[in-house]
């Protein structure tokens, strides 16, 4: 950020805790989203076409989060450059009937869906729902950090082509629709995006530590390596390494730029946020 022609340096820039190679801070901090309008735009990562649901691409997105709320909140989402509403994919957290839930929604329009009915453990056309009471389910607002990973093999009709892992364990899966596709061009962390990047919300009122994108459908063992028993590792040392790797305050010295520490070079941008939204909290 430029202030009167001077490059702004984040106040944590000179701290040394949790440093890695090159003095870059790897851990200890996260972004606090306000649940009102805060978001991080990682559109360049989506525009690179890694994350398309086109019948061919395989990809994975991992996100570490902490959610203090019970309201429906989108952790991250994507949409295409098509003005029609309800063409989005998202991972969300919410409570209903006092039971915490993680939900994947994968839609190609208001009435068409990227996945078919019959999801495990529950769900319907276009969504997987995992309740805290399901095997490997989580209580999203239990005060702990959680890791949610979505793996996609977008082959049309692929059985179990879409899987959701929670804290390193397979918790939900479903089969792809035999015909529907979607080409995602916008990616937001902290809210749902749709209608050609013009409609936002619901927003996320919690904290995000990392978001990483892999060019490939990770195996269960590879997902478990990301979670690592709840102790995040430098994912760049994993095989495969992430194409895009956002660390939300850990090394982001040029706020509001959210640096991509992967090989993709697709920096994100914090929108409606201030440096004070970087907090000293991490898994």
């Amino acid at each position: 950020m430029k202030i009167s022609g001077v490059t702004y340096r984040h106040p944590f820039a000179n701290t040394t805790g949790g440093t890695g190679a090159g003095g870059q801070v790897l851990s200890g901090r996260s972004f606090q989203f306000d649940g009102v309008a805060d978001r991080v735009a990682c559109d360049a990562a989506a525009a690179a076409n890694t994350l398309d649901w086109d019948g061919v691409k395989r990809w994975t997105v991992s996100c570490w989060f902490k959610d203090p709320s019970t309201a429906y909140a989108t952790l991250w989402s994507m949409c295409p450059t098509i003005p029609g509403a309800n063409r989005f994919l998202e991972i969300a957290s919410y409570y209903s009937g006092g039971v915490g839930r993680i939900r994947l929604q994968a839609r190609s329009s208001s009435t068409n869906f990227l996945t078919i009915a019959g999801a495990t453990p529950s769900g319907g056309a276009g969504f997987i729902e995992i309740r805290s009471t399901d095997p490997n389910g989580i209580d999203p607002n239990d005060g702990n950090w959680h890791n949610v990973v979505l793996t996609v093999n977008s082959a049309l009709g692929q059985v179990d082509g879409t899987k959701v892992y929670l804290n390193g364990l397979l918790a939900g899966k479903t089969t792809n629709d035999p015909a529907e596709t979607n080409t995602f061009d916008f990616l937001k962390v902290g809210c749902r995006v749709q209608t050609n990047n013009t409609v936002f919300g619901p927003f996320f009122p919690g904290r995000c530590f990392r978001l990483s994108i892999y060019d490939g459908e990770l195996s269960a063992a590879e997902v478990a390596a990301i979670y690592n028993g709840g102790q995040p590792v430098d994912e760049r040392a994993l095989t495969p390494a992430p194409l895009n790797f956002y660390r939300f305050g850990n090394g982001d010295y040029l706020f509001p730029v959210v640096k991509d520490y992967g090989t993709g070079g697709a920096d994100g941008l914090a929108v409606n946020m201030i440096p004070g939204d970087i907090v000293g909290d991490a898994p």
Partner: protein, 69 residues
């Protein structure tokens, strides 16, 4: 999160308010009929609401569609 302040403005007042050095919002959130927007500030402004109040406000039907549609 740093303490910040929120205020709802009619749409025609949003652009001038965003010029305030205390205004954080660069991409304001509007209600569903786009008659009002909520802005975030680093300092108290007349008629401000707290973060808790702002979060509760944007959960209402005027500001957010039913997310499980």
């Amino acid at each position: 999160m740093s303490e910040t302040y929120y205020r709802v403005y009619p749409s025609d007042e949003v652009a001038p308010q965003m010029k305030s050095s205390a205004c954080v919002s660069t991409s304001p959130r509007y209600n569903l009929d786009e008659t009002e927007a909520i802005l975030r500030f680093t300092e108290p402004v007349d008629g401000y609401i707290t973060h808790t109040e702002a979060f509760e406000l944007v959960q209402t039907p005027a500001w957010q569609e039913e997310p499980l549609q």
